[in-house]
Symmetry: C2
DNA sequence: GTATTATTGTAACAAAATGAGACAATAATA
DNA sequence: TATTATTGTCTCATTTTGTTACAATAATAC
């Protein structure tokens, strides 16, 4: 595509103006808690994956659509956690630069340059199942450990921090581990998820006793890792992922 | 005002389209947990107090403005808890009826008949300090006990239930009691707030020991109620209301 | 005055949950 | 066969919570 053949902008008629969403997509690589960050072409702007809501589309569905496009995954564990609506968060010059560097034809009154209120969601996905795909506007989409994030544009840093705070609060109640780990995992892996999210070390024996005491884990065969020590058992959550999500929904809409 | 002299509609130029807020305003009358519900003129529509966001206004400020108008109170404890964005929640015929019964001139393409996404907040206020005022559109605004609500319009019932669910989750962490009680209160009053929110009875001695153990209460003089038994002490929260809110804000925005 | 009544504050003991350390079991390796 | 690192579990101490008991006390009845 050449500079003379500009790309067509998204039509304002198709989208709800002033409303966007941003998603904090968490994954666990076995050691670190990471999130997906994209970088826009030629701008050095790092940002959370986000998008807009179509006029005939449920808010939740818009977010699911965006996640599907970026990760290829359906049925992702998703939770809305805050809506960011301050005036100061809108910076039209940033959006202008992004579109310009992506060879879009620009109009001064284009709807994307308006003020936006953004509904933020976090998603929990199985790191290994995903091959993130950059979209049309972005150079790359990559995993970044939560304590090694690049400088993020606009208020995206605040959004990530709020997501982490809510994730922590939900750690026990929502069985967060289930959505960040493969179906079968060792007790050590589960503990590492907890430690990454809480940002502190936990006592091994207490953790094991407490988790087993909850009666939510099923024990399976041992995992022989080829290491010179006793092999750990594999565990899975008793309630399946999808059932658990259904329960949460029922709680919400009851 | 006569039928010939129709009222002027709010101008779409002043407000962000498709975006509204609703507020679940909790108060405690000493026995029951209540919320403020308004009834629109001549419609039998019961609804949560809500409003719209001005184009040059922070989302949070819009909600504070609405609360101030309805309760006369500044510096209310306020927490955003969910954004409702499903397609099915929008019912333009309801808004049409409300405006019609209030003698507004109607236009078919009026912005208020569009789809709305609503950001929901809950507020905690001291029941006794407030004299709720109906606005232009509503006959009345009254306290209703949470288990004796009238049928609410649109999805407002769901909004209330979600508010209660979040309030429960926040009960310990956010010192909810502080904002629902007068500055000085008895242990029994505090326990009643907890019981109303949780919807279950608590054991008196355990509750007292646990709350005193937290070291957040200050003991003051006794309250002589003229009853034939030992007079209870009055307590207050050690951290003042406003300081506590500041802490929460810092947590959020840090 | 004195006994009665209802409620409050706290102590005392039991039960449950958690902290901290010890130790046997066990895969691979030397 | 001994060694090594890690895992699963046990034990005992500590803390928290559940439960019961009981003394203190403000008003009232007598």
């Amino acid at each position: 595509m050449t500079r003379n053949n500009k790309k067509k902008l998204l039509d304002s008629k198709d989208y709800i103006p002033h409303l966007a969403y941003d998603s904090v997509i968490f994954g666990f690589n076995g050691t670190q808690l990471k999130i997906l960050i994209l970088e826009y072409h030629n701008t050095e702007f790092f940002a959370l994956p986000g998008g807009f809501v179509k006029r005939g589309e449920n808010l939740d569905d818009a977010v699911k659509r965006g996640l599907k496009e970026r990760t290829g995954l359906d049925h992702i564990y998703l939770e809305q956690f805050h809506t960011f609506g301050s005036l100061s968060r809108s910076q039209p010059e940033i959006m202008r630069k992004i579109l310009k560097e992506n060879d879009f034809e620009l109009k001064d009154d284009y709807w994307m340059f308006d003020r936006f209120i953004s509904v933020a969601y976090y998603a929990l996905i199985n790191y290994d199942e995903v091959e993130p795909k950059p979209d049309e506007l972005s150079d790359s989409i990559n995993w970044y450990a939560i304590d090694e994030l690049p400088p993020l544009m606009m208020d995206h840093r605040k959004i990530v921090e709020k997501a982490l705070q809510v994730l922590r609060d939900n750690l026990e109640r929502k069985l967060v581990g289930m959505n960040l780990l493969p179906p079968k995992f060792t007790m050590k892996q589960l503990q590492q998820v907890y430690e990454c999210i809480l940002g502190e070390k936990l006592r091994r024996t207490t953790f094991q006793r407490r988790l087993l005491g909850k009666n939510i884990l099923e024990r399976h065969e041992k995992l022989f890792q080829g290491k010179a020590h006793k092999a750990p058992y594999l565990y899975s959550f008793k309630v399946s992922n999808s059932e658990r999500q259904k329960e949460d929904k029922e709680l919400i809409h009851k």
